[in-house]
Symmetry: C2
Subunit: 207 residues, 2 copies
């Protein structure tokens, strides 16, 4: 029975995941309100009721789809610890844009959730941002972990998110330039948040 449970649960997990991937696609095409449980069930080729076996509610399904995308994103931007801080930062941004490009729909879903939405979705997004901020602070020796730096980094992430979203829609900047914008903004924002010269050494050192 132990194995049964385990197998069953493994099969169940796979199915769950397939459903979440479907959710990603559906919710990035049409809005939450425009999609009914029946639509989802039909698209998945299962019954209405089975969806409730896997997910608490329609909203729960949406929430989990968002969480799924957020986890993917955070995981896919992890970078090798062997790189120098600045190179590592660039590598992280490149990986971020890779994700944005490859899973444009999932990324849009994630951010279309908006800056807030319902508390649970907001918490998921906040968690993803916090994970990225924590990683940057851990990796960038010249940024001390003070509240101003945190505020600056969170702001910077909003910039990255907003410009990335625009980028997949309009392609107004070449990819490399976009990364340059992110790098330049990161330093100037952190510097300004701390006060005039606190980071001057580090900032000019990088040039």
């Amino acid at each position: 029975m132990a194995r049964a449970r385990k197998n069953a649960s493994k099969a169940g997990d796979r199915r769950r995941e397939q459903l979440l991937e479907l959710g990603l696609r559906l919710f990035s095409d049409r809005s939450f309100a425009d999609i009914s449980i029946d639509d989802i069930a039909a698209a998945a080729g299962i019954s209405r009721g089975l969806l409730y076996h896997y997910f608490r509610s329609k909203r729960g399904f949406y929430t989990e789809s968002v969480r799924y995308a957020a986890d993917q994103l955070v995981a896919s931007t992890d970078t090798p610890a062997t790189l120098e801080p600045e190179a590592r930062m660039r590598a992280g941004l490149a990986a971020y844009l890779d994700y944005v490009e490859r899973y444009a729909a999932a990324y849009a879903l994630l951010l279309r959730g908006g800056l807030g939405v319902d508390p649970e979705v907001a918490a998921i997004l906040e968690g993803a941002r916090e994970a990225i901020v924590a990683r940057i602070v851990r990796e960038a020796p010249e940024l001390e972990a003070s509240p101003p730096v945190h505020a600056a980094l969170r702001g910077w992430i909003h910039l990255v998110e907003g410009m990335s979203l625009d980028w997949i829609e309009r392609r107004e900047l070449p990819r490399e330039r976009l990364i340059e914008v992110f790098m330049a903004a990161l330093w100037s924002i952190a510097e300004a948040a701390l006060g005039d010269l606190a980071l001057a050494g580090a900032a000019s050192a990088r040039t």
Copy 2:
């Protein structure tokens, strides 16, 4: 009858506006889904049906509340044309933060699309951003209206929005420093978007 029409319509508009203000308050406390038409009607002291006299639907009511807040925000950040460009920019940001502080709830509502963010709400936000970008370009002589500059400015607005939202919740930075961060970020982002030295003169001139 001409006067009757006009009066009637004027009274109707006033009422509509009161309802929208109520909507602003309600929707920033609880989420769209958590508030029923009956809740709204009860809070307004009117009947369910009358709400449908003034607004197409529950969603329509929400959408118009958002539009109302967006218009307020854009209007309240207009600045006197008599100021020098940089001072004008600072004045605009100060006005922006004034709005954010005074109408924190409305501001939060604005940036929270709502579950799944329907296209109409997204369009309202996009429109508000575009209005602000257009104003900045019009007022800042050193920014030519090229696609890269537009992309940079839209990104910068996301930064401003995100940090402002954080700011009212956590107050990690003093107001003046926040404005400094915005100013510093604006130049470095625009500069980086254009390419290495295009704005160098203007950027250092401001210091």
